[in-house]
Protein backbone atom coordinates (compact mmCIF):
# COMPACT_ATOMS: atom_id res chain seq x y z
CA UNK A 1 0.00 0.00 0.00
CA UNK A 2 1.25 3.49 -0.72
CA UNK A 3 2.33 5.46 2.36
CA UNK A 4 -0.39 8.02 1.71
CA UNK A 5 -3.06 5.30 1.60
CA UNK A 6 -1.78 3.84 4.86
CA UNK A 7 -1.75 7.24 6.51
CA UNK A 8 -5.28 7.90 5.38
CA UNK A 9 -6.50 4.58 6.76
CA UNK A 10 -4.87 5.16 10.13
CA UNK A 11 -6.24 8.69 10.37
CA UNK A 12 -9.72 7.45 9.49
CA UNK A 13 -9.43 4.70 12.10
CA UNK A 14 -8.34 7.23 14.75
CA UNK A 15 -11.32 9.45 13.95
CA UNK A 16 -13.75 6.53 14.10
CA UNK A 17 -12.38 5.45 17.48
CA UNK A 18 -12.57 9.03 18.76
CA UNK A 19 -16.18 9.33 17.62
CA UNK A 20 -17.16 5.96 19.10
CA UNK A 21 -15.55 6.76 22.46
CA UNK A 22 -17.24 10.15 22.59
CA UNK A 23 -20.61 8.52 21.83
CA UNK A 24 -20.15 5.75 24.38
CA UNK A 25 -18.71 7.74 27.28
CA UNK A 26 -21.86 9.58 28.50
CA UNK A 27 -23.64 6.25 29.17
CA UNK A 28 -20.81 5.03 31.37
CA UNK A 29 -20.42 6.16 34.95
CA UNK A 30 -21.10 5.22 38.54
CA UNK A 31 -24.48 4.12 37.22
CA UNK A 32 -24.72 2.81 33.72
CA UNK A 33 -27.41 4.78 31.94
CA UNK A 34 -29.29 2.93 29.22
CA UNK A 35 -30.79 4.52 26.12
CA UNK A 36 -34.20 3.35 27.34
CA UNK A 37 -33.75 5.51 30.46
CA UNK A 38 -33.14 8.61 28.43
CA UNK A 39 -35.44 8.17 25.46
CA UNK A 40 -37.97 5.66 26.77
CA UNK A 41 -38.50 2.32 25.07
CA UNK A 42 -41.32 -0.07 24.30
CA UNK A 43 -44.05 1.98 25.94
CA UNK A 44 -41.91 2.74 29.01
CA UNK A 45 -41.46 6.44 29.64
CA UNK A 46 -38.03 7.98 29.97
CA UNK A 47 -36.70 8.32 33.50
CA UNK A 48 -36.62 12.07 34.19
CA UNK A 49 -33.80 11.86 36.75
CA UNK A 50 -31.60 9.68 34.56
CA UNK A 51 -32.30 11.79 31.51
CA UNK A 52 -31.38 14.88 33.43
CA UNK A 53 -28.08 13.35 34.61
CA UNK A 54 -27.42 12.31 31.05
CA UNK A 55 -28.16 15.66 29.39
CA UNK A 56 -27.15 18.07 32.15
CA UNK A 57 -24.05 16.35 33.52
CA UNK A 58 -22.66 13.61 31.38
CA UNK A 59 -23.05 14.87 27.82
CA UNK A 60 -21.72 18.38 28.59
CA UNK A 61 -18.84 16.85 30.52
CA UNK A 62 -17.84 14.54 27.70
CA UNK A 63 -18.15 17.38 25.22
CA UNK A 64 -15.96 19.65 27.33
CA UNK A 65 -13.42 16.90 27.93
CA UNK A 66 -13.24 15.97 24.26
CA UNK A 67 -12.80 19.53 23.02
CA UNK A 68 -10.33 20.39 25.78
CA UNK A 69 -8.24 17.28 25.11
CA UNK A 70 -8.27 17.94 21.38
CA UNK A 71 -7.19 21.55 21.98
CA UNK A 72 -4.29 20.45 24.20
CA UNK A 73 -3.24 17.91 21.56
CA UNK A 74 -3.35 20.45 18.74
CA UNK A 75 -1.60 23.18 20.73
CA UNK A 76 1.16 20.76 21.71
CA UNK A 77 1.58 19.82 18.07
CA UNK A 78 1.80 23.45 16.93
CA UNK A 79 4.18 24.46 19.75
CA UNK A 80 6.44 21.52 18.93
CA UNK A 81 6.65 22.66 15.31
CA UNK A 82 7.06 26.34 16.24
CA UNK A 83 9.86 25.73 18.72
CA UNK A 84 11.32 22.77 16.87
CA UNK A 85 11.43 21.03 20.19
CA UNK A 86 9.67 17.77 21.05
CA UNK A 87 9.28 18.93 24.65
CA UNK A 88 7.32 22.05 23.85
CA UNK A 89 3.81 22.02 25.20
CA UNK A 90 1.47 24.66 26.60
CA UNK A 91 2.29 24.00 30.24
CA UNK A 92 5.99 24.47 29.55
CA UNK A 93 5.50 27.94 28.15
CA UNK A 94 4.03 29.51 31.22
CA UNK A 95 0.56 29.71 29.71
CA UNK A 96 -0.88 27.06 31.99
CA UNK A 97 0.79 28.36 35.11
CA UNK A 98 -0.34 31.89 34.25
CA UNK A 99 -3.90 30.62 34.12
CA UNK A 100 -3.38 28.73 37.36
CA UNK A 101 -2.10 31.87 39.02
CA UNK A 102 -5.18 33.79 37.89
CA UNK A 103 -7.49 31.09 39.19
CA UNK A 104 -5.52 30.90 42.41
CA UNK A 105 -5.90 34.64 42.93
CA UNK A 106 -9.65 34.38 42.30
CA UNK A 107 -10.02 31.59 44.84
CA UNK A 108 -7.67 33.11 47.40
CA UNK A 109 -9.39 36.46 47.40
CA UNK A 110 -12.81 34.90 47.40
CA UNK A 111 -13.99 36.33 44.12
CA UNK A 112 -15.94 33.21 43.27
CA UNK A 113 -17.80 32.65 46.52
CA UNK A 114 -20.09 34.55 48.80
CA UNK A 115 -21.34 36.92 46.14
CA UNK A 116 -25.05 37.53 45.81
CA UNK A 117 -27.40 38.85 43.17
CA UNK A 118 -25.75 40.19 40.06
CA UNK A 119 -22.41 39.42 41.63
CA UNK A 120 -23.40 35.79 41.96
CA UNK A 121 -23.54 35.54 38.17
CA UNK A 122 -20.21 37.33 37.99
CA UNK A 123 -18.84 35.07 40.71
CA UNK A 124 -19.55 32.00 38.59
CA UNK A 125 -17.33 33.24 35.81
CA UNK A 126 -14.78 34.95 38.04
CA UNK A 127 -12.46 31.98 38.18
CA UNK A 128 -12.34 31.25 34.44
CA UNK A 129 -12.07 34.99 33.78
CA UNK A 130 -9.14 35.40 36.17
CA UNK A 131 -7.50 32.26 34.80
CA UNK A 132 -7.82 33.65 31.32
CA UNK A 133 -6.33 36.96 32.43
CA UNK A 134 -3.43 35.12 34.06
CA UNK A 135 -2.73 33.19 30.87
CA UNK A 136 -2.80 36.45 28.91
CA UNK A 137 -0.30 37.92 31.35
CA UNK A 138 2.05 34.99 30.75
CA UNK A 139 1.65 35.33 26.98
CA UNK A 140 2.29 39.08 27.19
CA UNK A 141 5.49 38.57 29.18
CA UNK A 142 6.82 35.90 26.82
CA UNK A 143 5.95 38.01 23.77
CA UNK A 144 7.63 41.06 25.26
CA UNK A 145 10.78 39.06 25.87
CA UNK A 146 10.76 37.63 22.37
CA UNK A 147 10.34 41.12 20.88
CA UNK A 148 13.11 42.50 23.07
CA UNK A 149 15.55 39.74 22.21
CA UNK A 150 14.94 39.39 18.51
CA UNK A 151 16.84 36.44 17.12
CA UNK A 152 17.56 35.11 20.60
CA UNK A 153 16.48 31.72 19.34
CA UNK A 154 13.50 29.55 20.07
CA UNK A 155 15.26 27.53 22.75
CA UNK A 156 15.80 30.72 24.76
CA UNK A 157 12.11 31.53 24.51
CA UNK A 158 11.24 28.07 25.74
CA UNK A 159 13.58 28.46 28.69
CA UNK A 160 12.07 31.86 29.47
CA UNK A 161 8.68 30.12 29.57
CA UNK A 162 10.03 27.60 32.05
CA UNK A 163 11.37 30.42 34.23
CA UNK A 164 8.03 32.25 34.20
CA UNK A 165 6.26 28.99 34.99
CA UNK A 166 8.46 28.55 37.99
CA UNK A 167 7.90 32.13 39.14
CA UNK A 168 4.11 31.78 38.89
CA UNK A 169 4.18 28.42 40.63
CA UNK A 170 5.91 29.96 43.59
CA UNK A 171 3.20 32.62 43.83
CA UNK A 172 0.52 29.94 43.64
CA UNK A 173 2.20 28.14 46.52
CA UNK A 174 2.18 31.34 48.53
CA UNK A 175 -1.60 31.57 47.99
CA UNK A 176 -2.01 27.93 48.93
CA UNK A 177 0.13 28.23 52.02
CA UNK A 178 -1.47 31.38 53.33
CA UNK A 179 -5.06 30.50 52.46
CA UNK A 180 -7.70 28.89 54.67
CA UNK A 181 -8.27 25.13 54.51
CA UNK A 182 -11.30 25.36 52.22
CA UNK A 183 -9.60 27.73 49.81
CA UNK A 184 -6.44 25.69 49.76
CA UNK A 185 -8.38 22.51 49.03
CA UNK A 186 -10.29 24.16 46.21
CA UNK A 187 -7.10 25.60 44.77
CA UNK A 188 -5.23 22.34 45.04
CA UNK A 189 -7.93 20.36 43.27
CA UNK A 190 -8.14 23.00 40.54
CA UNK A 191 -4.41 22.89 39.85
CA UNK A 192 -4.65 19.12 39.50
CA UNK A 193 -7.02 19.66 36.63
CA UNK A 194 -10.63 18.67 36.72
CA UNK A 195 -13.66 18.69 34.53
CA UNK A 196 -16.94 19.19 36.24
CA UNK A 197 -19.74 20.96 34.51
CA UNK A 198 -23.37 21.59 35.03
CA UNK A 199 -25.53 22.22 32.02
CA UNK A 200 -24.94 22.47 28.34
CA UNK A 201 -23.66 26.06 28.45
CA UNK A 202 -20.63 25.03 30.43
CA UNK A 203 -20.16 22.00 28.22
CA UNK A 204 -19.78 24.21 25.18
CA UNK A 205 -16.97 26.29 26.67
CA UNK A 206 -14.10 24.48 24.96
CA UNK A 207 -15.76 24.27 21.56
CA UNK A 208 -14.45 27.65 20.28
CA UNK A 209 -10.87 26.83 21.33
CA UNK A 210 -11.08 23.48 19.61
CA UNK A 211 -12.47 24.98 16.41
CA UNK A 212 -9.87 27.78 16.37
CA UNK A 213 -6.92 25.44 16.91
CA UNK A 214 -8.19 22.90 14.40
CA UNK A 215 -8.86 25.51 11.73
CA UNK A 216 -5.46 27.13 12.23
CA UNK A 217 -3.52 23.88 12.22
CA UNK A 218 -5.24 22.69 9.06
CA UNK A 219 -5.06 26.02 7.26
CA UNK A 220 -1.36 26.44 8.06
CA UNK A 221 -0.41 22.78 7.74
CA UNK A 222 2.20 23.35 5.03
CA UNK A 223 3.66 26.31 6.92
CA UNK A 224 3.94 24.09 10.01
CA UNK A 225 5.67 21.42 7.93
CA UNK A 226 8.17 23.99 6.68
CA UNK A 227 8.72 25.44 10.16
CA UNK A 228 9.70 21.94 11.29
CA UNK A 229 12.68 22.24 8.96
CA UNK A 230 13.91 25.37 10.72
CA UNK A 231 13.94 29.06 9.98
CA UNK A 232 16.34 28.92 7.03
CA UNK A 233 14.31 26.44 5.02
CA UNK A 234 10.97 27.98 6.00
CA UNK A 235 12.01 31.54 5.17
CA UNK A 236 13.57 30.65 1.83
CA UNK A 237 10.50 28.64 0.83
CA UNK A 238 8.44 31.79 1.29
CA UNK A 239 7.03 31.57 4.83
CA UNK A 240 6.73 35.00 6.47
CA UNK A 241 8.45 33.80 9.63
CA UNK A 242 7.75 36.62 12.07
CA UNK A 243 4.13 36.99 11.05
CA UNK A 244 3.43 33.28 10.98
CA UNK A 245 5.07 32.58 14.35
CA UNK A 246 3.28 35.46 16.03
CA UNK A 247 -0.07 34.42 14.59
CA UNK A 248 0.28 30.78 15.58
CA UNK A 249 1.63 31.59 19.03
CA UNK A 250 -1.21 34.03 19.74
CA UNK A 251 -3.94 31.74 18.42
CA UNK A 252 -2.72 28.69 20.30
CA UNK A 253 -2.01 30.53 23.55
CA UNK A 254 -5.45 32.12 23.63
CA UNK A 255 -7.13 28.78 22.95
CA UNK A 256 -5.14 27.03 25.63
CA UNK A 257 -5.89 29.87 28.03
CA UNK A 258 -9.63 29.43 27.48
CA UNK A 259 -9.41 25.70 28.06
CA UNK A 260 -7.15 25.92 31.11
CA UNK A 261 -9.49 28.51 32.57
CA UNK A 262 -12.26 25.91 32.52
CA UNK A 263 -10.50 22.62 33.14
CA UNK A 264 -7.37 23.53 35.05
CA UNK A 265 -3.83 23.05 33.78
CA UNK A 266 -3.96 19.50 32.46
CA UNK A 267 -0.34 18.67 31.78
CA UNK A 268 1.14 15.98 29.59
CA UNK A 269 -1.70 15.69 27.07
CA UNK A 270 -0.12 18.29 24.78
CA UNK A 271 3.05 16.26 24.85
CA UNK A 272 1.59 12.79 24.40
CA UNK A 273 -1.12 13.29 21.77
CA UNK A 274 1.13 14.65 19.01
CA UNK A 275 3.86 12.13 19.78
CA UNK A 276 1.47 9.20 19.51
CA UNK A 277 0.08 10.61 16.29
CA UNK A 278 3.52 11.17 14.83
CA UNK A 279 4.40 7.56 15.57
CA UNK A 280 1.28 6.43 13.77
CA UNK A 281 1.29 8.77 10.81
CA UNK A 282 4.57 10.60 10.36
CA UNK A 283 4.91 14.32 10.57
CA UNK A 284 2.77 15.86 7.83
CA UNK A 285 0.55 18.28 9.66
CA UNK A 286 -2.39 17.89 7.30
CA UNK A 287 -3.01 14.38 8.67
CA UNK A 288 -1.20 14.87 11.97
CA UNK A 289 -3.60 17.63 13.08
CA UNK A 290 -6.87 15.67 12.95
CA UNK A 291 -5.11 12.68 14.49
CA UNK A 292 -3.60 14.72 17.35
CA UNK A 293 -7.02 16.19 18.04
CA UNK A 294 -8.63 12.74 18.01
CA UNK A 295 -5.98 11.22 20.29
CA UNK A 296 -6.04 14.18 22.70
CA UNK A 297 -9.83 14.30 22.85
CA UNK A 298 -10.22 10.55 23.25
CA UNK A 299 -7.53 10.33 25.91
CA UNK A 300 -9.12 13.04 28.00
CA UNK A 301 -12.61 11.57 27.68
CA UNK A 302 -11.37 8.11 28.68
CA UNK A 303 -9.36 9.46 31.61
CA UNK A 304 -12.19 11.68 32.76
CA UNK A 305 -14.63 8.77 32.61
CA UNK A 306 -12.18 6.83 34.75
CA UNK A 307 -11.81 9.82 37.08
CA UNK A 308 -15.53 10.03 37.83
CA UNK A 309 -16.03 6.25 38.05
CA UNK A 310 -13.04 4.62 39.72
CA UNK A 311 -13.24 6.26 43.12
CA UNK A 312 -16.96 6.96 43.11
CA UNK A 313 -18.62 8.83 44.57
CA UNK A 314 -15.40 10.90 44.74
CA UNK A 315 -14.54 12.74 41.57
CA UNK A 316 -10.77 12.43 41.11
CA UNK A 317 -8.99 15.31 39.39
CA UNK A 318 -8.51 14.07 35.86
CA UNK A 319 -4.95 15.43 35.79
CA UNK A 320 -3.96 12.68 38.22
CA UNK A 321 -5.31 9.97 35.94
CA UNK A 322 -3.69 11.51 32.87
CA UNK A 323 -0.29 11.56 34.52
CA UNK A 324 -0.73 8.15 36.13
CA UNK A 325 -1.67 6.42 32.88
CA UNK A 326 0.16 8.78 30.56
CA UNK A 327 3.63 8.54 32.01
CA UNK A 328 4.06 4.75 31.72
CA UNK A 329 2.40 4.79 28.31
CA UNK A 330 4.74 7.49 27.11
CA UNK A 331 7.76 5.59 28.38
CA UNK A 332 6.54 2.48 26.60
CA UNK A 333 6.15 4.56 23.47
CA UNK A 334 9.70 5.87 23.75
CA UNK A 335 11.47 2.65 24.69
CA UNK A 336 8.98 -0.02 23.70
CA UNK A 337 9.41 -2.80 21.14
CA UNK A 338 8.56 -0.68 18.11
CA UNK A 339 11.37 1.73 18.82
CA UNK A 340 13.80 0.99 15.99
Amino acid sequence: MSPAGREFKIARFALIVAFAVALAAPWVGVRLILPSDVFGWGGRAADAAEASIFWQLRVPRVLLAWCAGATFGLCGMVFQALFRNPLAEPSLLGVSSGAALGAAAAIRFGLSVGAVGVFKALGAIAMPACAFAGALLAIAIISAFSRMARGAGDATLLLAGVAISSLFSSLIMVFQYTGGAAETYKLLSWTMGGISVVGMNEGLRAVPSFLITLAMSLHFSTELDLLTFGDEIAATRGVELEKMKRLLFAGMSLSVAMVVANCGPIAFLGLIAPHVSRRLLGARHRVLAPCSAAVGGTALVVCDTAARTLWAPADLPVGIIISFLGAPFFLWLLFGPRHR
Binding site: P3, T222, D225, L226, F229, I233, T236, V239, G282
Partner: protein, 269 residues
Protein backbone atom coordinates in the same frame (compact mmCIF):
# COMPACT_ATOMS: atom_id res chain seq x y z
CA UNK B 1 11.59 23.90 -19.37
CA UNK B 2 10.72 26.15 -16.53
CA UNK B 3 8.15 28.07 -18.49
CA UNK B 4 5.80 28.45 -15.56
CA UNK B 5 8.08 30.80 -13.69
CA UNK B 6 6.80 33.52 -16.00
CA UNK B 7 9.79 35.72 -15.27
CA UNK B 8 11.98 37.26 -17.92
CA UNK B 9 15.45 35.71 -18.16
CA UNK B 10 17.05 38.94 -16.93
CA UNK B 11 15.17 38.41 -13.68
CA UNK B 12 17.98 36.08 -12.65
CA UNK B 13 20.52 38.81 -12.10
CA UNK B 14 21.64 39.96 -8.69
CA UNK B 15 23.21 43.29 -7.86
CA UNK B 16 24.82 44.00 -4.52
CA UNK B 17 25.89 47.54 -3.76
CA UNK B 18 27.66 48.58 -0.57
CA UNK B 19 26.21 45.74 1.49
CA UNK B 20 27.16 45.79 5.18
CA UNK B 21 25.99 43.44 7.91
CA UNK B 22 26.54 43.53 11.62
CA UNK B 23 25.64 40.59 13.84
CA UNK B 24 25.75 40.98 17.58
CA UNK B 25 27.64 44.26 17.28
CA UNK B 26 30.35 42.67 15.16
CA UNK B 27 30.87 43.72 11.56
CA UNK B 28 30.59 40.64 9.34
CA UNK B 29 30.33 42.24 5.91
CA UNK B 30 31.37 45.76 4.98
CA UNK B 31 30.73 47.60 1.76
CA UNK B 32 30.47 44.49 -0.40
CA UNK B 33 29.59 45.25 -4.02
CA UNK B 34 29.39 43.00 -7.06
CA UNK B 35 26.99 41.91 -9.74
CA UNK B 36 25.89 38.52 -11.02
CA UNK B 37 24.95 38.47 -14.69
CA UNK B 38 21.67 36.68 -15.41
CA UNK B 39 22.29 33.07 -16.35
CA UNK B 40 25.89 33.03 -15.16
CA UNK B 41 27.92 31.25 -12.50
CA UNK B 42 29.51 33.07 -9.62
CA UNK B 43 31.76 31.70 -6.92
CA UNK B 44 32.28 33.42 -3.62
CA UNK B 45 35.47 32.10 -2.06
CA UNK B 46 37.33 32.92 1.12
CA UNK B 47 38.51 31.59 4.44
CA UNK B 48 36.23 30.52 7.28
CA UNK B 49 34.69 33.60 8.82
CA UNK B 50 35.26 35.75 5.73
CA UNK B 51 31.52 36.44 5.56
CA UNK B 52 30.65 34.10 2.69
CA UNK B 53 27.71 32.36 4.36
CA UNK B 54 26.38 35.64 5.73
CA UNK B 55 26.42 37.07 2.22
CA UNK B 56 24.55 34.03 0.94
CA UNK B 57 21.96 34.31 3.71
CA UNK B 58 21.43 38.00 2.98
CA UNK B 59 20.64 37.31 -0.65
CA UNK B 60 18.46 34.34 0.32
CA UNK B 61 16.49 36.47 2.77
CA UNK B 62 17.42 34.51 5.88
CA UNK B 63 19.21 37.59 7.26
CA UNK B 64 17.13 40.70 6.81
CA UNK B 65 19.08 43.29 8.74
CA UNK B 66 21.65 44.86 6.43
CA UNK B 67 22.71 48.25 5.12
CA UNK B 68 23.27 48.98 1.47
CA UNK B 69 21.41 47.94 -1.65
CA UNK B 70 20.45 44.48 -2.78
CA UNK B 71 18.63 43.96 -6.07
CA UNK B 72 17.14 40.63 -7.08
CA UNK B 73 16.06 40.51 -10.71
CA UNK B 74 16.14 44.28 -10.80
CA UNK B 75 13.86 44.66 -7.78
CA UNK B 76 14.86 45.96 -4.34
CA UNK B 77 15.10 42.89 -2.12
CA UNK B 78 13.66 44.78 0.85
CA UNK B 79 10.48 45.44 -1.10
CA UNK B 80 9.89 41.74 -1.77
CA UNK B 81 7.69 39.62 0.45
CA UNK B 82 9.11 36.28 1.59
CA UNK B 83 6.97 34.54 -1.02
CA UNK B 84 7.97 36.87 -3.85
CA UNK B 85 11.58 36.33 -2.97
CA UNK B 86 11.16 32.56 -2.74
CA UNK B 87 9.92 32.58 -6.33
CA UNK B 88 13.03 34.48 -7.43
CA UNK B 89 15.80 32.90 -5.35
CA UNK B 90 16.23 29.36 -4.02
CA UNK B 91 18.71 28.49 -1.31
CA UNK B 92 20.63 25.32 -0.50
CA UNK B 93 21.84 25.73 3.09
CA UNK B 94 25.19 24.55 4.32
CA UNK B 95 23.62 21.97 6.57
CA UNK B 96 20.09 20.70 6.62
CA UNK B 97 18.23 19.25 9.58
CA UNK B 98 18.62 15.50 9.54
CA UNK B 99 16.22 14.59 12.32
CA UNK B 100 12.98 15.54 10.62
CA UNK B 101 10.48 12.68 10.31
CA UNK B 102 9.40 13.37 6.74
CA UNK B 103 9.80 11.27 3.63
CA UNK B 104 11.59 12.72 0.60
CA UNK B 105 8.50 13.12 -1.57
CA UNK B 106 6.73 15.10 1.19
CA UNK B 107 9.66 17.48 1.41
CA UNK B 108 9.79 17.85 -2.36
CA UNK B 109 6.11 18.73 -2.37
CA UNK B 110 6.84 21.52 0.15
CA UNK B 111 9.34 23.03 -2.29
CA UNK B 112 6.36 24.15 -4.32
CA UNK B 113 4.92 26.27 -1.49
CA UNK B 114 6.13 29.52 -3.15
CA UNK B 115 3.88 28.77 -6.11
CA UNK B 116 0.76 27.82 -4.15
CA UNK B 117 -2.27 29.34 -5.77
CA UNK B 118 -0.25 30.28 -8.86
CA UNK B 119 0.83 26.99 -10.37
CA UNK B 120 -1.46 24.09 -11.18
CA UNK B 121 -1.13 20.74 -9.47
CA UNK B 122 0.16 19.29 -12.74
CA UNK B 123 2.85 21.99 -12.84
CA UNK B 124 3.86 21.14 -9.28
CA UNK B 125 4.08 17.43 -10.04
CA UNK B 126 6.09 18.08 -13.20
CA UNK B 127 8.50 20.46 -11.44
CA UNK B 128 9.11 17.98 -8.64
CA UNK B 129 9.59 14.96 -10.88
CA UNK B 130 11.90 16.87 -13.24
CA UNK B 131 14.03 18.07 -10.35
CA UNK B 132 14.21 14.57 -8.90
CA UNK B 133 15.22 13.10 -12.27
CA UNK B 134 17.83 15.78 -12.83
CA UNK B 135 19.46 15.07 -9.49
CA UNK B 136 18.93 11.33 -9.81
CA UNK B 137 17.01 10.91 -6.57
CA UNK B 138 13.73 9.52 -7.93
CA UNK B 139 14.49 6.19 -6.22
CA UNK B 140 14.68 7.97 -2.85
CA UNK B 141 11.09 9.27 -3.01
CA UNK B 142 9.73 6.96 -0.31
CA UNK B 143 12.71 7.15 2.02
CA UNK B 144 12.71 9.05 5.30
CA UNK B 145 15.02 12.07 5.29
CA UNK B 146 16.52 10.88 8.56
CA UNK B 147 17.65 7.62 6.93
CA UNK B 148 19.59 9.29 4.11
CA UNK B 149 23.36 9.61 3.93
CA UNK B 150 24.90 13.08 3.91
CA UNK B 151 25.42 12.94 0.15
CA UNK B 152 21.86 11.79 -0.53
CA UNK B 153 20.43 14.47 1.74
CA UNK B 154 22.46 17.14 -0.04
CA UNK B 155 21.07 15.95 -3.37
CA UNK B 156 17.55 16.18 -1.98
CA UNK B 157 18.22 19.76 -0.86
CA UNK B 158 19.50 20.63 -4.34
CA UNK B 159 16.51 18.92 -5.95
CA UNK B 160 14.22 20.93 -3.70
CA UNK B 161 15.87 24.17 -4.80
CA UNK B 162 15.51 23.18 -8.44
CA UNK B 163 11.84 22.26 -7.95
CA UNK B 164 11.27 25.76 -6.64
CA UNK B 165 11.79 26.91 -10.27
CA UNK B 166 13.54 30.15 -9.47
CA UNK B 167 15.77 32.08 -11.84
CA UNK B 168 18.58 32.01 -9.25
CA UNK B 169 19.91 29.30 -6.95
CA UNK B 170 22.24 30.05 -4.05
CA UNK B 171 24.37 27.28 -2.66
CA UNK B 172 26.30 27.46 0.59
CA UNK B 173 29.26 25.04 0.57
CA UNK B 174 27.43 22.47 -1.58
CA UNK B 175 30.33 20.03 -1.83
CA UNK B 176 32.21 20.48 1.43
CA UNK B 177 30.90 17.36 3.16
CA UNK B 178 30.61 15.17 0.08
CA UNK B 179 32.84 12.37 -1.14
CA UNK B 180 34.42 12.73 -4.59
CA UNK B 181 31.67 10.89 -6.48
CA UNK B 182 28.98 13.07 -4.94
CA UNK B 183 31.08 16.18 -5.57
CA UNK B 184 31.33 15.35 -9.28
CA UNK B 185 27.60 14.63 -9.49
CA UNK B 186 26.78 17.89 -7.73
CA UNK B 187 28.98 19.91 -10.09
CA UNK B 188 27.34 18.16 -13.07
CA UNK B 189 23.87 18.99 -11.80
CA UNK B 190 24.79 22.64 -11.24
CA UNK B 191 26.25 22.85 -14.75
CA UNK B 192 23.15 21.27 -16.30
CA UNK B 193 20.71 23.49 -14.43
CA UNK B 194 22.72 26.51 -15.52
CA UNK B 195 23.10 25.41 -19.15
CA UNK B 196 19.70 23.87 -19.82
CA UNK B 197 17.49 26.18 -17.77
CA UNK B 198 19.55 29.33 -17.78
CA UNK B 199 19.43 29.46 -13.99
CA UNK B 200 21.86 31.89 -12.36
CA UNK B 201 23.97 30.11 -9.76
CA UNK B 202 25.91 31.60 -6.88
CA UNK B 203 28.11 29.16 -5.02
CA UNK B 204 29.79 29.91 -1.73
CA UNK B 205 32.80 27.69 -1.16
CA UNK B 206 36.32 27.46 0.12
CA UNK B 207 37.07 24.73 -2.41
CA UNK B 208 39.07 26.49 -5.11
CA UNK B 209 39.02 23.41 -7.32
CA UNK B 210 35.26 23.66 -7.44
CA UNK B 211 35.61 27.22 -8.71
CA UNK B 212 38.14 26.04 -11.29
CA UNK B 213 35.87 23.24 -12.51
CA UNK B 214 33.34 25.46 -14.23
CA UNK B 215 33.55 28.74 -16.02
CA UNK B 216 32.24 31.72 -14.16
CA UNK B 217 33.24 34.71 -12.16
CA UNK B 218 34.98 34.57 -8.78
CA UNK B 219 34.56 36.97 -5.89
CA UNK B 220 37.07 36.54 -3.08
CA UNK B 221 36.08 37.77 0.37
CA UNK B 222 38.43 38.41 3.25
CA UNK B 223 37.44 39.91 6.57
CA UNK B 224 34.01 40.83 5.22
CA UNK B 225 35.36 42.81 2.26
CA UNK B 226 35.78 42.02 -1.41
CA UNK B 227 39.47 41.30 -1.85
CA UNK B 228 39.50 40.38 -5.50
CA UNK B 229 37.12 39.78 -8.40
CA UNK B 230 38.00 38.01 -11.61
CA UNK B 231 37.90 34.83 -13.68
CA UNK B 232 38.91 31.44 -12.24
CA UNK B 233 42.10 31.49 -14.30
CA UNK B 234 43.13 34.56 -12.32
CA UNK B 235 43.40 32.37 -9.25
CA UNK B 236 46.50 30.82 -10.78
CA UNK B 237 48.40 34.09 -10.71
CA UNK B 238 51.32 33.90 -8.31
CA UNK B 239 50.44 34.80 -4.75
CA UNK B 240 46.72 35.22 -5.49
CA UNK B 241 45.49 32.27 -3.43
CA UNK B 242 47.96 32.96 -0.66
CA UNK B 243 46.49 36.44 -0.42
CA UNK B 244 42.98 35.02 -0.12
CA UNK B 245 43.54 31.98 2.08
CA UNK B 246 46.67 32.90 4.00
CA UNK B 247 48.65 29.84 2.95
CA UNK B 248 50.82 29.31 -0.15
CA UNK B 249 49.30 27.10 -2.87
CA UNK B 250 50.73 24.81 -5.52
CA UNK B 251 49.07 23.66 -8.66
CA UNK B 252 49.46 20.27 -10.21
CA UNK B 253 48.52 18.80 -13.57
CA UNK B 254 48.98 19.56 -17.21
CA UNK B 255 49.08 23.13 -18.44
CA UNK B 256 47.20 22.12 -21.59
CA UNK B 257 44.07 20.38 -20.31
CA UNK B 258 41.51 21.52 -17.77
CA UNK B 259 43.00 19.16 -15.24
CA UNK B 260 44.38 21.72 -12.84
CA UNK B 261 44.41 20.76 -9.20
CA UNK B 262 45.20 23.32 -6.55
CA UNK B 263 46.37 22.32 -3.12
CA UNK B 264 47.76 24.25 -0.19
CA UNK B 265 51.41 23.77 0.44
CA UNK B 266 52.00 21.93 3.66
CA UNK B 267 54.53 23.41 6.01
CA UNK B 268 56.04 20.09 7.01
CA UNK B 269 55.74 16.92 5.01
Amino acid sequence: MSACSGLAPEAGGIKIDGLSVELGGKSILSEVSFEIEPGSFLYVIGRNGAGKSTLCKCVAGVIRGYRGELFIGGRQASSLSARDRSRAVAYVPQSSPGDVPYIVSDFMEMSRYPWRGMASEADDRRAVSEAMELTDITFLAGRRLSSLSGGERQKVMIASAIAQETRTILMDEPTTYLDYAHQVETVDVMARVNRERGVTIMVVTHDVNLAMALSGKVVALAGGRVLWTGLPSGLLEPGRLEGIFGVPFRHYGSESGGGQILAPQRSRL
